[in-house]
Amino acid sequence: METLCPCWVGEHPAEPKPDRVIYLVRGEKKTRSPLSQLYFCRYCSELRSLECVSHEVDSHYCPSCLENMPSAEAKLKKNRCANCFDCPCCMHTLSTRATNIPAPMPDDPTKTTMKKAYYLACGFCRWTSRDVGMADKSVASGGWQEPENPHTQRINKLIEYYQQLAQRERQERDRKKMARRRQCMPMAFSQHTIHVVEKYGLGTRLQRQRAGAPLSSLAGLTLKEGEDQKEIIIEPAQALDEVEPLPEDCYTRPINLPEVTTLRQRLLQPDFQPSGASQLHPKHKHLLMKRSLRCRKCEHNLSKPEFNPTSIKFKIQLVAVSYIPEVRIMSIPNLRYMKESQVLLTLTNPVENLTHVTLVACEEGDPEDVNSTAKVMVPTKELVLAGKDAAADYDELAEPQDFQDDPDVVAFRKSNKIGFFIKVVPQKEGDTDVLVSFKIRHDFRNLAAPIRPNEEAGDATTEAIWLTHHVELSLGPLAP
């Protein structure tokens, strides 16, 4: 999904270019994505994509004032910032501007003094709060109120009633589950329950409590003890026979086009959905959240951002590019149907120790090889990649390591990168892109795994395991 910046002038972009090099993720669902978008669980030693990890909310923050907000407070304020507003016309952030107005002094009504009056203004579409008739406030922040929804009370009552209903349903469900699994460990809730979609927003706190405990201890922060026993009764909605008739000049009145709101402007204010631009009031800015990712199999965190909204760094960042060697396309010659051509690829080693990489072409009938439209001949010899040396640029005296590369296979070698050739024979004629796939097998040293108390003394290095990944390359269309 892509978003255009509002200041962009020019043609809209063409279809986004397809990703050139994609890796296959063997999760519950087989997804293919470029390595830059994948994560690597070093406890399971497998690639993970965004679809096979669980996303959890880490913290909330406002994108314009960068103020952090605890989750409970965010829920209370409906995930909106208290200080910042959005322009109802173009959804930009509103800024507060001040003007000087003459106002009578409090002591002496005859003299006038300049007092500051504040109003909200949008820098992009020049909307001001005076356009909808909101009076200027005398305080810079905190004076602006959103208009009250006349149906708030009824909605709140309905929400309470349904929350209670959901709570009761969940208790019954869990009681049944516990009755069936009496022999199990007292770990009350299975993995399944934690991931179950919660109804009506009760909160995960309640899910983690132990079942069988008395009802009162299950009360969340919002309910007091004893109140949850009380039944909430709501009146059912009543259907009316008469509906407000349309105005008489509905069909004949000429439309004042600047006054009509667009659908987007209207739906951003679901409480009122005004049809006229003079009733568009600014809303508080929506909060954004930082999320952390967790591997579903081993429950380890794959990505955990910093808590501070102003920091873009991560506490834990297990991205695939820093563990798996990356294949990139360097140059593609003219590809012709059924003619063999050489494509130059590069392999980059992200880790600091020496890595051995073997490429294997896909066999006939490989279930993972679905999309390829060309035959590929990969180098049979094992490729050796030097480790990534951070000081390589500065260390002029370092001797270049001698690897004795076969010049037919290896085109060049530069610190931790190597360029090599593969031979491609396109098998399909026509407009489709030439797609090539092969398997890449490399050794991975797991530095995260705990060093076992090994009987073999002196085994200080961690053992290497061999990982195999399925890579697909998109080489573009055939030459005309």
Partner: protein, 212 residues
Amino acid sequence: MTDLNKQIPPKSAKIATGAVVCVESEIRGDVSIGARTVVHPKARIIAEAGPIIIGEGNLIEEQALIINSYPENIMPDTEEVEPVTMTIGTNNVFEVGCVSRALNIGDNNVIESKADLGRNVSLTSGSIIGAGCHVNTSEVIAENTVVYGASGKRRVQSEKPQPQTLQLDFLMKILPNYHHLKKAVKGGTTPHSGWAAVWVHNLALGNVSLLP
């Protein structure tokens, strides 16, 4: 009279006293600039296909281009084309890098950076053409209209934009400290101009000799 106008095309701009026009700005053709107007360096005002009349209190920023050019389908030398005057009113702001070919611009308009106005657009008063917006329809834009967004969305605002008096005052004090200004020139080739123009006119006709 019209023949003489063609024989002596006016070369210098008519700059009223009180206008601040920097020397680094490029003013070509018959341009008259009103009082309290500030023209920044590197602004370009080019009157090719007719004169340009700029009113008072305008602010023309750097790299703005106000051009009265021939419509695209007419070559300059083929036919005799009537020169069309471009009129710009008072208190307008032409922000950095905008291009304006519009023939009629009223008062209190703001043309934001990198906006592009076509020849047939007419701005009345209080309009704001947003940054980067291209407006080349042939229409009269109503009062207090704001054009914004990549797709040229429009809306009507309730009040006209504030005139930039503070900015103008500041610039009129500061710019002369750092730039040479073009001298205020009165007169030109209009029939009602002063004695200097009449003298030049007679000189061209050969009625007056330069030798003492």
